[in-house]
């Protein structure tokens, strides 16, 4: 059974008036439910919550794989700020591609590469991340307007931490 098969099953269930479907086929296990899930999270017997919570557990999860892991990890304690903006708002987040220290300008006292409100072009330098004494220029991958900066000058950043939010031109 592959992802397409599961999608097909989903459609079939949607077209029927069935509320629950479980399939065990070869090595795969699929369980589909729908309708009033509020009830289950309320005064339900405990194990039902377990079953319903994390979607069809078992085999489907692996299939989805890690991929773009959702940010809210358990304790990224080192990251003091977390982005509130998201791509849903039409904004593009610029994540740090490496671990290091964020610098807003090329040297102390120099003007910042960009300020909130600035227009930026593709390839324009947004900031520097220093790692092991190397200054890595971070360039914008979109053209747009800088809407927010998440990190203070000289602040450490972890991999994937959001640095800027940019509203792409035309968005």
């Amino acid at each position: 059974m592959n992802l397409d098969d599961i999608k097909e099953l989903l459609k079939a269930v949607t077209d029927s008036d069935v509320t629950e479907l479980e399939v065990e086929l070869d090595e795969a296990k699929v369980r589909i439910r729908r309708g009033a899930p509020e009830r289950e999270s309320a005064p339900q017997p405990p194990y039902v919550v377990v079953a319903s919570g994390a979607m069809p557990a078992g085999v489907t999860a692996p299939a989805l794989g890690p991929g773009p892991v959702p940010q809210p990890g358990p304790t990224p304690k080192a990251s003091p700020e977390t982005p509130e903006a998201s791509e849903d708002d039409g904004l593009t987040l610029v994540p740090s591609p490496i671990v290091g220290t964020f610098y807003e300008s090329s040297a102390p006292g120099s003007p910042s590469f960009v300020e909130v409100g600035d227009k930026v072009a593709v390839g324009q330098v947004l900031c520097i991340i220093e790692a092991m004494k190397l200054m890595n220029e971070i360039e914008s991958e979109v053209a747009g307007v800088v809407v927010k900066r998440f990190v203070a000058n000289a602040q450490p950043v972890e991999y994937g931490q959001s640095l800027f939010a940019i509203r792409p031109v035309g968005a």
């Binding site: 994390a54 078992g58 692996p62 890690p66 304790t75 304690k77 490496i98 790692a131 092991m132 991999y159």
Partner: protein
């Protein structure tokens, strides 16, 4: 005194290091890949930092990211655990030049031990028994033939830069030599970018026995006795114990003494393991040295009462062994470790996925090392070690009994594990008698097949 340590690892060994740091009052920094956001080392460390995407090459093996993480968190030292960067001499060197305290031997000593031929020569010079073999790489077929005759057939041809069984060829007689020699060089070249091979005496039914050592930065090295690691499958250890049923106090003392001299001479410091093969007559031959803490270190901890990871950190902090170890190292009781891997116990295929239920064993005589929990997702990117069950007892029989019980009184659901295999080992008569060699698992599987054919 070290105030903060960055742990350049994941899984149970990262938790093990966090525990040692807590016991020493040292703050910890965990690093993790995007696949490990829900990992326990992230939860239990004082600070945690994402350093890259799931693939180890871009995260746990990414030297600039690791060093950078230490720099921005002001960690003064890095504990590498085992695997990943633990025996990477270049990484140790980067730490040295970056002013970060690498918790392990000096980079030049790691480099020496990483070259098997040089390592063998170095310890042999100090009196450690080594397998009869060629002095360094053998360049031509003619030379190989001469060496093989001197050593006596069967011999084994090995890659100088190798490991894990690749590039090895057993040669039983002169007729087989030509073809095997060329094949081995070819494989070595393909696998390790270096065609150098050497020859060694081949032991038909070897036991795998290793000695745990600790060395301080003041020239003193102490042996903490041996571990029996013959229960393996394709050179992957599955079960270890201390002491070995085949090493007596006299042999332990004799080998220990000669190792202490040899390793002190090469300037070995921190924890290390010296691996030996034992032949059918009970003679030990050095094969290589691992310049790191081993997966199976807890069995030595159990019988000596010494916390090896705490010792590693104190050594890196400059403390002498006199301050760390009791005056006399005593081996008390018996300990067995079973590696519970997320693997199919028949095919040994890794079994990544969600651990729907994880109830570790507990109770008298049982220690567990694990980073797994109910609901945790075993990522497919890293090794398959799910937990280590360690059983101790006053003697080997009691340790076996308790391990059997621990295997029965635990639950892992959602992924396959090696628990059923270990239960079979615990009930095996030859195992109970201590009669086994590195082919034990192969024979156990055959026994099972035979039994099911009869039935």
């Amino acid at each position: 005194m070290i105030q903060k340590i960055l742990i350049a690892n994941r899984g149970e060994i990262a938790l093990r290091v966090i525990a040692a740091c807590k016991d020493l009052g040292i703050r910890t920094v965990a690093i993790y890949s995007q696949a490990d956001r829900e990992a326990l080392h992230v939860r239990y460390a004082d600070e945690a930092l994402c350093i890259g995407p799931p693939r180890s090459a871009e995260s746990y093996l990414n030297v600039p990211a690791v060093i950078s993480a230490a720099e921005i968190t002001d960690a003064e030292a890095i504990h590498p655990g085992y695997g990943f960067l633990a025996e990477d001499a270049a990484f140790a060197e980067v730490c040295e030049v970056s002013g970060v305290n690498f918790i392990g031997p000096r980079s030049d000593v790691i480099r020496l031990m990483g070259d098997k031929a040089r390592a063998r020569k170095a310890v042999a010079a100090a009196g450690v028994p080594v397998l009869p073999g060629s002095e360094g790489p053998v360049e031509t077929e003619a030379e190989a033939r001469k060496e093989a005759e001197r050593i006596g057939y069967p011999v084994i041809i090995k890659a100088a830069a190798g490991g894990g069984g690749r590039g090895m060829r057993i040669v039983r007689n002169a007729r087989e030599l030509e073809q095997s020699f060329h094949q081995a060089r070819h494989e070595a070249s393909a696998s390790f970018q270096c065609a150098d091979v050497y020859l060694e005496k081949y032991i038909q039914r070897p036991r795998h026995i290793e000695f745990q050592v600790l060395g301080d930065q003041h020239g003193r090295v102490v042996s903490l006795g041996e571990r029996e690691c013959s229960i393996q499958r394709r050179h992957q250890k599955l079960l270890e114990e201390a002491p070995s049923p085949r090493v007596d106090a006299a042999m332990r003392a004799e080998i220990g003494k000669v190792l202490e001299t040899a390793l002190s001479r090469v300037g070995y410091s921190n924890a290390g393991t010296v691996e030996f093969l034992m032949d059918e007559d009970g003679k030990l031959y050095f094969i290589e040295m691992n310049a790191r803490i081993q997966v199976e270190h807890p069995v030595t901890e159990s019988v000596t009462g010494i916390d090896l990871v705490k010792a590693q950190i104190r050594i890196a902090d400059g403390e002498p062994l006199d301050a760390i170890l009791p005056e006399k190292i005593e081996i008390q009781g018996h300990a067995i470790e079973c590696r519970i891997n997320a693997e199919n116990p028949e095919t040994f295929a890794p079994s990544a996925g969600k651990v729907t239920k994880f109830l570790p064993p507990s109770g008298i005589g049982v220690r567990v090392e694990t980073a797994a929990y109910s609901g945790w997702f075993v990522p497919p990117y890293y090794d398959s070690l799910l937990a280590k069950f360690i059983a101790t007892g006053r003697d080997r029989t009691e340790a076996i009994t308790r391990m059997k019980r621990a295997l029965e009184m635990s639950v892992v659901e959602g992924v396959h594990t090696t628990i059923p295999l270990h239960s079979r080992i615990m009930s095996d008569e030859d195992f109970a008698l201590g009669n086994f060699d590195t082919r034990f698992i192969e024979q156990l599987q055959q026994k099972k097949k035979a039994a099911s054919t009869v039935g």
